[in-house]
């Protein structure tokens, strides 16, 4: 049995090569106690060079390209501390080789970006991805931010994705229409995206001007992949239950070729949340050719086709009734099987072509071309002249008295009866698929020249298709001993196509392309009802596009330059960026309500922007650093915020660029026993434009609020202290204490999709001093780590979260909402008071063991390792941490009854585990 399996591995392992060595850099790797680290791998990113330290921690790095500014250090796998779901590398950001010896070979926790979509309701609807760690040097703060705080959807400094510039092999990876990071493109490819360079805040990067949240650059080129074969299998109870990964890196051949391939599969019949399945494959291939030692060409292709059943946040009432904070209204039984109505499908392959030219020992040029394409689809139920099928529709809940509370005494037994029904009967709280099929069988209808069963319910998919093109080039040169210059040019273009597709008629024969929200005053004149006047009264079958159909086209040019000055005790930085963003909408349907304003191209809107940042670092000595940075920039509005209602028309807000001021300053302490930092930050966003869309009960239609003059402030401190207490123990404490809030009263332009009538041109929204809802504004962590010389480790962290605010509703903060309410009365306060969730706490424990198992594979003559990592998050199974809660956007202006529409709440997972087994041949 064992022999046979071994043969399998031999076949897979054959393509190993060795390569030659020429030029030399020497160094020593020690840990923070000064103990030499043997068998650590040292390599220079972007080159073919890597080596291993000897028994005394010394290494000789040969054939090194001249412009290397970083070294990558991987500890011997035996000592590897692998926290589940995290990467295992450190990139030391230092230009001088002799400093390397002072850095501890260690691991860095970079969270895997998950693509689960629980609770993506609500107007902020920011992506559910947790942003990456924003710093390269290993630090207790970054560990906590990336790993321990992620359960509460913590965001560093409260920033959204758009504040962090992300690159993959030099190709920009932020969506141009929304600014969101495109983490989903490489989900599951953990093995090959470990080589990262990250700068936090306003610190300079040599590959991008960056943004207020910093930059992250991932390098997955073949030469950056370890020369190894690694397979791993994981068990978990999170979004998915199982993960398999296999990755092979060839290393660089004598002829200058390197290649790497990776495949992974993640799946679950049912994830942590009931009714959510997961099925993801990921693939990756990269080939790189060095021409001489100065030129490198790399072609990389990756993708992650993923399907998953989604969860949805619900009301506290439903959580209480079901006794389940993970109640998911999206699914129901069909023929006795669980079927989820909200299925996400995502596949956006990415192709990158990267060229690197080390022109001379002082200069280098990088150029990258990127192309990504594909789709993102989310299904949901659509219905026409039919009963609302959502099981947690507020009118279906016991709290809703259909008779206006006139006879509460009589209503109590019915409410109790309904509550019992929901408590005890799964069918009464989940989707009724069989009922929808039955309704679809009942309505024989003649429509135009078609006769058949007219669907009352269908399954639709909201489809977005993407084409993203980009070209990025940057040139780095060392001018003299004190000065380094960088120049860059970036061009990005994105075409996003949006439409709805009918994907399942649920047993009926056809459906109609009519706008059900239109009030038809004159039934003989039904043009208003037409979703597309160019194809009126169209009969719909499976696969047809309907509803809306348009393209969002955005292109952007940027030109930037940066100068870094290094002196004995001071470093200075100055960077400039200019850019121009152009966008337009191209409508493919002629909407019945906006016939003159929906079909064809909108105007082209161009926004020129500029940014400047500068900073200084005072290096008191090798242990104490003081720094201060400042940035001022303008930012074009995003397409989705500029256009009032791109699903129905070409109209735009009278929007201007927003202006951003960001300041940061602080202190870093780096001693062998104690490391720490204390950083203050202040970022002010002025004149932001934001558009939200929601179904408005008062108007029986989708309503659009476009806010202009929206100001926000993010301010606070970050502190971390890590003390080596000896005997293998390290203790750490982390604090992120911020305040993120609105600082203006924006103007809302309120439009609706069912009528060409402006609801308000300049409605003031009273948002000043209202908090933002973007995760915990305060987070704290205490950690204790133990590392055994016998190749195992144990980590423990206690975390606390505070300042998790309900997302403020705009509708509630209008004058109209307070009409006839006495100022300062309890009702007044009830309407205006922003709710805060309870403080949350969690306990995380993780551990790992590794074995060197060369003997079992002695025939390979390669080092082989077997690793087990186990992580348990939220050990105490605290199911009361709110990750997101949103005040309802519907407001009952008539009776001002806040209980009528309840907030939707999402809870963090309770106790979860992740067990990873891997086998590695170097």
């Amino acid at each position: 049995m064992k022999l046979k399996l071994l043969t399998v591995y031999l076949i897979l392992i054959i393509p190993f090569f060795s390569f030659g060595q020429q030029y030399i850099i020497k160094g020593t790797i020690t840990d923070d106690k000064g103990v030499p680290v043997p068998n650590a791998r040292v390599s220079a990113p972007g080159s073919d060079v890597s080596t291993t330290t000897n028994e005394t921690g010394e290494f000789i790095l040969k054939n090194l390209p001249s412009a290397v500014t970083n070294l990558e250090i991987q500890p011997e796998p035996k000592h590897e501390e692998k926290v589940p779901e995290t990467a295992t590398e450190i990139i030391v950001d230092t230009p001088k080789t002799e400093e390397i010896v002072n850095y501890r070979a260690d691991t860095e926790n970079i969270p895997t970006i998950s693509s689960d979509d629980e609770g993506s309701e609500g107007h902020s609807s920011t992506s559910e991805n947790v942003a990456s760690v924003l710093s390269s040097s290993r630090d207790a703060f970054n560990n906590a931010a990336a790993y321990n705080f992620s359960i509460a959807r913590f965001r560093v400094r409260g920033y959204d994705d758009e504040n962090l510039v992300m690159l993959m092999n030099g190709v920009p990876m932020n969506d141009l229409t929304t600014g969101r990071g495109l983490y989903n493109l490489w989900s599951g490819l953990n093995d090959v995206v470990r080589s990262r360079e990250i700068t936090s805040g306003l610190a300079p990067a040599y590959y991008s001007f960056g943004d207020v949240g910093g930059t992250a650059s991932i390098d997955s080129r073949a030469s950056h992949q370890r020369k190894q074969l690694q397979t791993s299998f994981s068990f978990a109870n999170r979004t998915y239950d199982n993960r398999f990964m296999i990755t092979y890196g060839s290393g660089l051949s004598k002829s200058g070729w390197a290649y790497a391939i990776s495949y992974s599969r993640r799946w679950a019949q049912e994830g942590y949340v009931k009714g959510t399945f997961y099925d993801g494959h990921s693939y990756f291939a990269s080939v790189e050719k060095f021409i001489g030692s100065d030129h490198s060409l790399a072609l990389t292709f990756m993708g992650a086709p993923t399907e998953n059943g989604r969860g949805k946040s619900s009301y506290q009432e439903m959580y209480d009734l079901t006794g389940d904070h993970y109640y998911n209204p999206n699914w129901g039984y069909q023929n006795g099987k669980v079927r989820n109505s909200s299925v996400g499908k995502n596949h956006q392959p990415l192709l990158t072509f990267t060229y690197q030219w080390n022109i001379n020992p002082k200069s280098s040029l990088h150029a990258a071309i990127g192309y990504s394409f594909g789709y993102y689809r989310v299904s949901s139920i659509d219905w026409f002249n039919a009963l609302n099928p959502q099981p947690d529709y507020y009118r279906n809940l016991p709290s809703f008295d259909p008779n206006y509370g006139e006879d509460t005494e009589a209503f109590i037994p019915y409410a109790e009866e309904l509550a019992n029904l929901i408590r005890n009967n799964t069918d009464s709280r989940q989707l009724n698929w069989d009922g929808m099929y039955e309704a679809n069988a009942l309505h024989d209808t003649v429509y135009g020249n078609v006769q058949g069963k007219l669907a009352k319910y269908v399954l639709q998919e909201y489809v977005t298709k993407y084409n993203r093109y980009s070209f990025n080039a940057y040139y780095n040169t060392v001018l003299n001993d004190h000065t380094k210059l960088t120049f860059g040019y970036l061009y990005q273009k994105q075409e996003s196509e949006y439409y709805k597709e009918l994907t399942d008629l649920l047993g009926a024969d056809f459906y109609v392309n009519l706008n059900q929200f239109v009030d038809v005053e004159n039934p003989t004149e039904n043009s208003l009802q037409q979703n597309d006047l160019n194809n009126p009264n169209r009969v719909l079958r499976v696969g047809d596009i309907y509803g809306y159909h348009y393209f969002a086209n955005v292109s952007k040019y940027s030109l930037w330059g940066q100068a870094l000055f290094n002196f004995d005790h001071f470093d200075y930085m100055l960077a400039l960026n200019v850019s121009s963003t152009t966008m337009y909408r191209d409508g493919k349907t002629k909407n019945g309500i906006f016939p003159n304003d929906s079909y064809g191209k909108s105007g082209e809107y161009t926004f020129p922007d500029a940014g400047i940042k500068g900073g200084a670092t005072y290096k008191l000595n090798g242990r104490n650093y003081f720094f201060a940075n400042a940035a001022f920039e303008t930012r074009a509005p995003y397409f989705d915020n500029l256009f009032l209602s791109p699903k129905s028309n070409n109209r735009v807000a009278n929007a201007d660029d927003e202006f951003i001021t960001s300041l940061e300053g602080g202190y870093h302490l780096k001693t062998p026993k104690v490391k720490g930092r204390l950083v203050g930050f202040f970022t002010q966003y002025t004149d932001e434009t934001e558009t939200i869309h929601f179904y408005n009960e008062s108007f029986h239609t989708f309503t659009n609020y476009t806010l202009t003059g929206l100001n926000k402030r993010h301010e606070g401190i970050e502190a971390a202290l890590e003390v080596n207490v000896g005997h293998g123990f390290t203790a750490s404490g982390v604090v992120s204490a911020g305040q993120y809030f609105y600082t203006s009263r924006p103007n809302a332009r309120i439009t609706q999709d069912s009528k060409d009538t402006l609801l308000a041109a300049n409605e003031i929204i009273y948002l000043k001093n209202v908090r933002l809802s973007n995760g915990p504004q305060q987070a704290y962590s205490l950690g204790l780590n133990y590392r055994s010389p016998r190749f195992w480790f144990l980590y423990m962290n206690v975390n606390m979260f505070d300042g998790i605010y309900y997302d403020a509703s705009f509708t509630r903060r209008q004058v109209q909402s307070l009409d006839l309410v006495e100022t300062g009365s309890s009702k007044w306060n009830e309407i205006l008071q922003q709710k805060k969730s309870f403080n949350g706490y969690s306990l995380d424990v993780s551990g790992g063991w590794s074995w060197k198992i060369d003997k079992q594979f002695s025939s390979l003559k390669r080092p082989a390792y077997f690793l087990i990592n186990i992580g348990i998050n939220n050990v105490t199974d605290n199911q009361d941490i709110v990750t997101r809660a949103a005040e309802p956007l519907r407001f009952s202006f008539a009776d001002k009854n806040l209980d009528k529409f309840a907030p939707r709440v999402t809870y963090a997972y309770g106790r979860t585990y992740f067990i990873n087994l891997s086998l590695r041949f170097n």
């Binding site: 064992k2 399996l5 299998f233 199982n242 398999f244 599969r265 019949q269 399945f277 997961y278 099925d279 399907e307 059943g309 069909q334 023929n335 079927r339 989820n340 219905w383 002249n385 039919a386 009963l387 009118r395 279906n396 016991p398 809703f400 008295d401 259909p402 008779n403 006139e406 006879d407 009589a410 209503f411 019915y414 409410a415 009866e417 309904l418 029904l421 929901i422 009464s428 698929w433 069989d434 009922g435 099929y437 039955e438 069988a441 009942l442 024989d444 319910y457 047993g507 009030d519 038809v520 005053e521 004159n522 039934p523 003989t524 074995w851 198992i853 079992q856 077997f866 087994l917 086998l919």
Partner: protein
């Protein structure tokens, strides 16, 4: 150590197999939808259940009673809202439920079984029975989440045949049953009118009559999808739910297809549409009048100059006379006329009716908001003799005429009030003045005078109507 590796390889092998064999299934079969009744035993007919209601106060049905009936009215059109009517062979009852678009599962023609225990029943005082939950002293709506507990759907596609009755005999029918009236029409004032006000979503009463002018109220919701449709002008049948409201019968249709009135009206006339949908001369309007009551096609307009004078009140308050070239017409407003003598107007006649009143052609129930004032005009009277007017009534009806060299006689004590006589060399003509006219008490001149006025057709007899004493010179 080797033990662990064996474990690993075992796990890994299983993993590899499972990676390529496990598939996350997301294909689904369509459930079979059988058209059958539930296995429930009916314990009472609807009439028997109604007997439980003691009056208008809701009575709890505390025993396990099951009724069944076929849905005869659902909420597809919006004319019924959160109310379903079911009927069995004995009677009908209204179910009040807090669901919009319940028609998706309980459409017309589907049998519904109701497990009544726990619900309340009451008579609304007019003999309409309602089933629901208690809401103070009346019947409230069943909470949406509980509807499926009480209402069990059965077979669908059951034909519902309304009982044919007459308007006079309606009161004998069980309330809320589906009835059909044959040979009925909308009363003339209600033809070509919208069923309800779709713009303001106001409900409206229209009246349906038989050829003996026995009328019944047709009540339609402003939220219904047919609210903005015009009522037909012809005669035919109507299918509706019969309710009793405020001591009088009331009909509610389920949708616009319940009304089929394309035949000739009582006493002739097709009630068909007239008009071009654009601007017409009054002469053309007179020419296309088909008899009976006709309805103007949307967009039809006329222009003209007002030749009557509301200030002297010698014309019914809601009326005015409009002349365009050599032709004129009576315009009747739904409210008192606000336009002045010599106003030049354009009137949108969309949906208005064209009919005769005492044989004079008249546009009915114009709204002031349909009138645009273009400016001021002046109509030069057509100078003719009394003989000409008498023998050419259809040409001169509602136009301004002048007769020279006449003498006036008769009337009430020498005043204009009432019926006086105009005499010229060719014959005589009636000069009619309303007693309510501001000048009715004025003594008319006794000598030879010239007289100007518009011609009114009173049941085939021409009468001259002056606007004031200045018309006599």
């Amino acid at each position: 150590m080797k033990k662990y590796i064996k474990v690993y390889f075992l796990v890994f092998t299983v993993a590899l197999i499972s990676v390529f064999s496990s598939c996350v299934k997301n294909e689904f079969d369509a459930p079979a939808t059988a058209n059958v009744d539930p296995d429930l035993t009916i314990s009472k007919t609807i009439v028997q259940l109604q007997a439980l209601a003691t009056g208008t106060t809701p009575v709890l049905i505390s025993t396990n009673q099951i009724i069944a009936g076929v849905v005869i009215a659902d909420d597809l059109s919006g004319n019924f809202y959160k109310e379903m009517i079911i009927q069995d062979s004995t009677a009908a009852i209204s179910i009040r439920l807090d669901q919009t678009n319940f028609n998706s599962l309980y459409p017309i023609g589907r049998r519904v079984y109701i497990k009544c225990q726990g619900l309340y029943i009451a008579n609304d005082g007019s003999g309409n029975f309602q089933l629901g939950i208690k809401d103070l002293s009346s019947i409230g709506r069943i909470p949406s989440g509980l509807v499926a507990k009480y209402l069990v759907p059965g077979k669908w596609g059951i034909p519902v045949t309304p009982k044919v009755v007459t308007i006079s005999a309606l009161a004998n029918e069980p309330r809320q049953t589906l009835i059909r009236l044959n040979d009925v029409q909308f009363r003339s004032a209600d033809t070509g009118m919208t069923y309800a006000n779709a713009a303001t979503q106001q409900s409206l009463h229209r009246y349906v009559e038989d050829c003996n002018q026995v009328q019944v109220d047709l009540y339609s919701s402003g939220y219904s999808n047919f609210a903005g449709l015009s009522t037909p002008g012809g005669k035919g049948s109507i299918v509706a739910v019969y309710k009793q409201f405020g001591g009088a019968p009331e009909l509610l249709i389920r949708n616009a297809e319940d009304v089929n009135m394309a035949g000739s009206r009582c006493g002739g006339g097709t009630g068909v549409s007239v008009g071009t949908g654009g601007l017409m001369t009054i002469a053309d309007v007179r020419n296309v009048y088909p008899g009976g009551s006709a309805v103007f096609v949307g967009g039809t307009k006329i222009r003209g100059v007002v030749i009557s004078d509301k200030t002297t009140a010698n014309i019914t308050g809601n009326n005015m006379i409009l002349q365009d070239g050599n032709a004129g017409i009576t315009v009747r407003f739904s409210a008192p006329n606000i336009f002045n003598l010599n106003d030049s107007l354009e009137i949108d006649l969309s949906g208005d009716s064209l009919q005769t009143f005492q044989q004079a052609l008249q546009v009915n129930y114009v709204s002031s908001s349909a009138v645009t004032v273009l400016g001021t005009g002046m109509v030069t009277p057509n100078v003719q003799t009394t003989a000409y007017i008498s023998s050419n009534l259809s040409l001169v009806e509602s136009t301004l005429m002048k007769i020279n060299g006449v003498t006036l006689s008769g009337g009430t004590s020498g005043t204009y009030s009432g019926t006086a006589t105009i005499t010229d060399g060719t014959g005589t003509l009636i000069l009619f003045t309303r007693s309510g006219a501001t000048f009715s008490g004025t003594i008319y001149p006794t000598g030879t005078v010239n007289i100007t006025g518009f011609v009114s057709n009173f049941n085939g007899t021409p009468e001259l109507i002056i606007r004031g004493t200045g018309d006599v010179q």
